[in-house]
């Protein structure tokens, strides 16, 4: 009897069937897979299948691979990934190209593989599948910019994958274990720390921590309309999951997270492309989660609040960010435009899209009654419990910026801002609206009734979001942000520019390295090559007749002297003589007598003997 079936394998094994099916059967099948996975999870949580704490293992190279390590942490992430995949697939169901669906489900399945991985080999395997399957969601856009961004995306992820593999192998050598549990981490130079730092680096690349974040804002806005929605959820949030498993309570992460939260906001101000603006807000929001992981010292109340906050925020974020990308994608789908400078006044044509988008915007901004409020405040609360004033101020400040861009600047610039609409538009296809509707419903449901979410979290929740004090504080913060926005709204019009980010280093400075190799380095190499060759040619020339050659060389030195001291006529005569000698070279070779030859051979053998003795003795 089947003890347990891996939810990720439902997607991975289900994907190859997609191209075989046709029409509405295919659509039903695509939506059925997440439902099966969801039911599987439900049975798993209630202990019907492999219950919590047990593992599902396979032998491999003398190790046991744990494909299914089930605990509260992996279950909550699995739930949100499965739920999100259903909404996202509904959003994408009208796409005719089967490849996009296959890539999307391989991506979802491998992410679930990462979530349930109990050992580092399994983790690495699914980690790599996640990287390349998501690449196709970018390339299916079939534009030059998308191909190029995709290449940069996959190169960064391969780098991360190699760091992960290197870290795993060193970790295996030092500890002898491949179990995926919290790593020993520190700054001191040791092999153990080298391993954990390499693994941490790989995790931070996938979590898009600056300065290793540029792959995200570079590639996500170039992806297909529906592919981008998938991309927002899985890579960064599975990175949060592995960070919670591997590096809970690492103080460095608190600061990286707080910096990230503000970094994304600053760049979002300057951004003109709506999907890139939202991508910068992924970085900002993931910052909260990373900060929460950093505060998550296990065994302390504040630490458990940090971890709970990170998990809850990941859960909420997946839903509202998908909704926001769906809204921005809908605009791109019907108008073909995604730049604020080319958009405006679309409310007349797309009111439903606007209102559904705004649910996501209220959620990300943390309005009471929306899911961002019940999760984001947990991380902020954890920073207060740890007494970290700077981090608290940075996280609260990032909330201001989040509302400013996602909740005000973007919808203002897209749906209003101008007297009339900039172009013809209409509401997107019904399935897209339905997907947005379901996601919006979930955002509100979790905001109104947070107990559903809190019951799934890894630690018991001792936190009440809806106190009078919390609601009053957040209302003041957001309302006065709106006032400042309204006063300065003319400054926030999109500008037809792009913003340099750390991808500059591999796009421009990287080109500089290639130029340096191709130009100065090559010139130098050719120069050295020529010199060496001419030296070799000289030796060949000399060896044709060394005695005469030496004579000619001697004459040439003499010629230089004569040029300085003699009259021009004599020099000319001398030169002519030398030319004649060179022309006749090598000339008649001198003949040696037999005795002289034997003598020379013996002499060379003797020299060889001396050399040999010198080296050996």
């Amino acid at each position: 009897m089947i003890e347990w079936f891996h939810p990720g394998l439902i997607y991975i094994l289900g994907a190859p069937l997609i191209p075989v099916l046709r029409g509405s059967v295919k659509k039903a099948y695509l939506l059925l897979l997440p439902i099966i996975a969801f039911i599987n999870l439900l049975f798993m949580s209630s202990g019907v299948f492999l219950s919590r704490g047990k593992t599902w293992s396979l032998p491999f190279l003398g190790y046991d691979l744990f494909l299914g390590q089930i605990d509260t942490l992996s279950t909550v992430f699995a739930y949100v990934f499965v739920i999100a995949s259903f909404c996202m697939m509904l959003y994408a169901i009208h796409i005719k190209e089967d490849g996009q669906h296959v890539a999307a489900y391989l991506y979802v399945g491998s992410t679930l593989g990462v979530v349930f991985a109990g050992d580092l080999f399994t983790l690495f395997f699914f980690w790599e599948v996640m990287a390349w399957s998501s690449l196709y969601l970018i390339w299916y856009r079939r534009k030059k910019a998308a191909y190029q961004a995709g290449f940069r995306y996959i190169l960064v992820h391969f780098f991360g994958g190699i760091c992960l593999l290197g870290g795993i192998l060193i970790h295996l050598q030092t500890t002898g274990s491949i179990a995926f549990e919290a790593f020993h981490w520190g700054w001191e130079m040791s092999r153990d720390n080298l391993a954990s730092n390499l693994i941490l680096l790989a995790f931070l690349i996938n979590a898009a921590v600056p300065p290793l974040h540029a792959w995200l804002t570079d590639a996500y806005p170039e992806a297909t309309v529906t592919g981008a929605v998938f991309l927002t959820a899985f890579t960064t949030k599975s990175a949060i999951y592995v960070l919670i498993r591997g590096f809970p309570g690492v103080e460095l992460l608190i600061w990286l997270g707080a910096i990230m939260a503000v970094y994304g906001v600053v760049f979002a101000v300057l951004e003109n492309d709506i999907r890139r603006l939202l991508a910068y807000h992924i970085i900002s929001q993931v910052g909260y989660m990373i900060s929460g992981v950093g505060m998550g010292v296990i065994g302390t109340a504040a630490g458990e609040m940090g971890i709970n906050g990170a998990v809850a925020h990941a859960f909420s974020h997946i839903l509202y960010k998908a909704l926001l990308f769906m809204g921005a994608g809908a605009v791109l789908e019907v108008t073909g435009r995604s730049k604020l400078t080319e958009l405006g006044g679309l409310y007349k044509y797309m009111p439903i899209t606007f209102h559904l988008y705004m649910v996501g915007a209220y959620s990300i901004s943390g309005f009471p009654l929306f899911n961002g409020f019940v999760s984001k405040t947990m991380v902020v609360q954890a920073s207060a419990m740890w007494h970290l004033p700077t981090v608290w101020l940075m996280l609260e400040g990032a909330s201001i910026g989040t509302f400013l861009h996602t909740g005000l600047k973007l919808p203002w610039g897209t749906w209003f801002a101008r007297e009339g609409p900039v172009c013809e538009a209409k509401e997107p296809p019904k399935n897209m609206l339905a997907a947005m509707g379901i996601t919006a419903f979930l955002c509100i449901l979790l905001g109104v009734y947070p107990k559903i979410l809190y019951n799934l979290l890894p630690y018991p929740v001792h936190y009440e979001p809806y106190t009078f004090s919390h609601v009053a504080t957040i209302s003041q913060l957001l309302l006065f942000t709106f006032v400042a926005f309204w006063l300065l709204r003319r400054m926030l019009h999109g500008e037809p520019t792009i913003t340099l980010d750390t991808d500059w280093f591999y796009r421009i400075a990287g080109n500089g390295v290639i130029w340096f190799c191709e130009k100065p380095l090559m010139t130098f190499a050719t120069f050295i090559d020529m010199k060496v060759l001419s030296l070799a040619r000289f030796f060949v020339w000399v060896s044709r007749n060394p005695a005469v050659a030496l004579g000619i060389q001697k004459e040439e030195v003499k010629l230089i002297g004569k040029r300085l001291f003699s009259s021009p006529e004599r020099v000319e005569e001398y030169e002519r003589g030398l030319e004649e000698q060179k022309r006749r070279y090598p000339g008649e070779l001198p003949r040696l007598t037999l005795g002289a030859s034997v003598f020379l051979i013996l002499l060379s053998l003797f020299l060889y003997l001396i050399l040999y003795l010198l080296i050996v003795v």
């Binding site: 101000v269 608290w392 003041q476 006065f480 080109n511």
Partner: protein
């Protein structure tokens, strides 16, 4: 539009009043000294928003913003070189 603004002013006023009421009657646990100020969040929201807009715009104007074809241009220059 006028109607909406009246609602907005009402909300602004209410949120400030709520801030004071919380402080007078509920005495919430204070983690940082600035939380003792009932209108701290309002000030932080207002000033923070202005600082974010002006600060980021300055960083963009003087350092990070480029024309849209910045990368294509440098690519083309590369193409001509080789």
């Amino acid at each position: 539009m006028k109607h909406l603004f009246r609602i907005l002013y009402g909300c602004l006023f209410l949120s400030i009043v709520a801030g004071f009421l919380v402080h007078i009657y509920l005495h919430p646990h204070i983690y940082f000294f600035w939380e003792a100020l009932p209108i701290f969040s309002a000030l932080y929201g207002f000033i923070g928003c202005i600082v974010i807009i002006i600060g980021s715009k300055a960083v963009g104007r003087y350092w990070l913003q480029r024309e849209e074809d910045y990368y294509e241009k440098s690519e083309r220059m590369q193409g001509e070189d080789t």
